[in-house]
């Protein structure tokens, strides 16, 4: 992955900008920025599997949705629970679900993997829809953001959108960093190696299923955490957290941003949210335009937005040989 870095100066400026953002942005844009960060975390989880692992789980939003519902149920039924603990439980809730889904899906490869994963998502969606006493179906449920008490800083009110932004920023940064560091570990390396040629990896003695199963389960942490943050931010959960549109959005973001680079999903999420914000003010059918942009990127711009900054040194996912 050498040569894939934005230069250090650029990164420094980006971090300072992100930290100062609420000081000069109007409220509505802090809102958008928080939303972008949450989607970015979700897309990072997707990118871990797609960009680095060569797995394409169309139904990845299942894990996002599980996180969203777990967080909502905790906020609703245990309103006094310490916020970091809630978020931790939410993040962990993604693991067993991802393990079950992964256990079935990873038996298949390529296109079949993608669509089985989609089938699991539709299954969970049906449950969220039909189990009204728990999840309230389409109507959804509203929850309240609890405040956050920190030892030195004292009580941080989460009524303030700036505090929500900072909390999200910290969590998302930790998530992206964890993902980045994970890929440097031997497990991460062997996972990437299986993207290139899984059969060869298995001849070399790696257990392809077990490796992918482990990473797939772990990816549930980030996806569920993103779901939990989403509910925390929106103070609302409904089947829209686990439906197909949410599922597509993460695919669109990651591919448009540039899969296989740790910043691709962040750029993709930013583009997606801004583009949506702009074009949905012009037309009700913004989906068509988003889809056309997506198809255009898939066919003609496979490096994604991030390749504009990396001098074309991004690994191109589409132009490799068939199979594997």
């Amino acid at each position: 992955m050498r040569g894939l870095r934005l230069d250090t100066l650029g990164r420094g400026i980006a971090i300072i900008l992100l930290l100062l953002l609420p000081q000069f942005l109007p409220l509505i844009y802090i809102h958008l920025a928080t939303e972008i960060l949450i989607y970015a975390l979700f897309a990072v989880s997707f990118n871990l599997l797609f960009g680095y692992g060569g797995l394409l789980p169309f139904g990845h939003v299942a894990l996002f949705g599980v996180g969203a519902y777990v967080a909502a149920l905790i906020f609703k039924h245990f309103p006094g629970m310490y916020l970091p603990l809630t978020l931790l439980l939410t993040a962990l809730s993604g693991v067993p679900i991802a393990a079950i889904i992964g256990f079935f899906c990873l038996r298949l490869k390529g296109a079949y993997f993608a669509l089985i994963s989609l089938a699991f998502q539709m299954f969970l969606y049906a449950i969220a829809m039909k189990w009204r006493s728990l999840a309230y179906g389409d109507d959804g449920m509203t929850v309240n953001r609890p405040d956050l008490y920190l030892p030195v800083l004292g009580n941080l009110s989460m009524r303030s959108i700036e505090n929500v932004y900072y909390l999200t920023l910290v969590i998302v940064a930790i998530g992206i960093l964890a993902c980045y560091l994970f890929l440097k570990t031997p497990l991460g390396n062997s996972f990437v190696c299986m993207r290139e040629r899984d059969i060869r990896a298995s001849y070399l003695g790696y257990d392809v299923f077990l490796t992918r199963f482990t990473v797939f389960s772990a990816s549930g942490i980030l996806a569920a955490l993103a779901g939990g943050l989403f509910v925390f931010f929106e103070e609302f959960v409904a089947t829209s957290c686990i439906d197909l549109n949410m599922g597509i959005s993460v695919v669109f973001m990651t591919v448009i941003g540039g899969p296989g680079h740790y910043l691709g999903p962040v750029l993709g999420a930013a583009f997606y949210i801004f583009f949506q914000d702009w074009i949905s003010s012009l037309t009700k059918h913004w989906w068509v335009f988003m889809g056309i942009v997506f198809v255009g990127v898939v066919l003609y711009f496979e490096g994604g937005l991030v390749s504009l900054f990396t001098n074309g040194k991004v690994r191109l996912w589409a132009s490799r040989l068939k199979g594997g």
Binding site: F104, R107, L108, Y112, A119, R320
Partner: protein, 290 residues
């Protein structure tokens, strides 16, 4: 007792009807998958387009039969254009590019349908010839469903004859086994791919048209058909027409008895079937290659 037995027969017939329709949609998907290795996510949209065109054509021409003739031809042409100008660009790319492209197309076309026809369910009137009902096992059974059965059976027969008795059929079957070798033997495979893709779209649209008076025409029908077709392909085995046929009939029965027994969670049965097949035989019932 007699009465409840009648219910079972009716449900089984219902499942058969649904299974046959499903097979018409899934067969094109299976052929394209077998020949080109492209799992076309957008395939179910052809089914939906067929139904929506049937609605508009029936409305303007006043004849269901004309729309049964015209609608699949239009959709088949759409399929040919999509293959020629979009999917063909991805043959040199990986599976992921094809998947993402067809996935994107699925949503663009689905959204376009919503733009043009709106989101409210539409009704296509049953053709007059088949508005009646016949008594069956002490219950009443609409003749239109018998027409669906007969018609889809004829299409199935026609397809089997084309595949097994004609030169085109031989080339298609050979291309499923080894497309590269067929090309080396001097067959213009790009044209064949285009034709099969269009043919698959045609069949899916045909299913959409005859399903339109039976199920209503709604904007979610593409997604429903996509998921069902996909379970059919996984259960039947990748690229196997026989497998797809048997799996379609199984899905039809599960669908219809699932709704009878557990109305709210009928999807669970299809899902269990898929999970069991995946555990016991990951390549599907009749699949050999992955």
């Amino acid at each position: 007792m007699d009465y409840s037995f009648g219910i079972y027969v009716i449900q089984a017939a219902q499942g058969l009807v649904y299974g046959m329709l499903l097979f018409l949609v899934a067969s094109g998907l299976t052929l394209v998958l077998g020949m080109m290795g492209v799992l076309n996510v957008a395939h179910a949209v052809f089914y939906m387009l067929g139904a929506y065109f049937a609605y508009s054509l029936t409305l303007h021409l006043g004849s269901f039969w004309l729309s049964l003739l015209i609608s699949p031809v239009i959709v088949g042409a759409v399929g040919v254009l999509i293959e020629r100008f979009l999917i063909r660009k991805t043959y040199t790319g990986g599976h992921h590019q094809q998947l993402l492209l067809t996935f994107g197309l699925f949503f663009i076309l689905g959204e376009l349908v919503r733009v043009i026809w709106g989101t409210a369910p539409l009704e296509v009137p049953t053709p007059e010839l088949f508005t009646g009902s016949i008594p069956l096992m002490g219950m009443i059974y609409p003749t239109y469903r018998l027409f669906i059965l007969g018609f889809s059976f004829l299409v199935l027969l026609g397809m089997a004859l084309v595949l097994s008795r004609t030169r085109i059929g031989i080339i298609i079957r050979a291309a499923v086994t080894d497309a590269g070798m067929v090309e080396a033997l001097g067959v213009n495979t790009p044209v064949f791919f285009m034709g099969v893709f269009g043919g698959g779209a045609f069949l899916a649209a045909l299913a959409g048209v005859i399903a339109a008076p039976f199920l209503s025409v709604y904007s979610g029908m593409g997604l429903d058909a996509l998921l069902d077709c996909f379970v059919v392909i996984v259960v039947g085995g990748f690229g196997s027409l026989l497998g797809a046929f048997i799996a379609s009939l199984m899905m039809g029965q599960l669908h219809s008895f699932g709704i009878l027994w557990v109305p709210k969670l009928a999807i669970v049965f299809q899902f269990l079937l898929m999970a069991v097949v995946l555990i016991l035989r990951p390549t599907g019932l009749f699949g050999e290659k992955e």
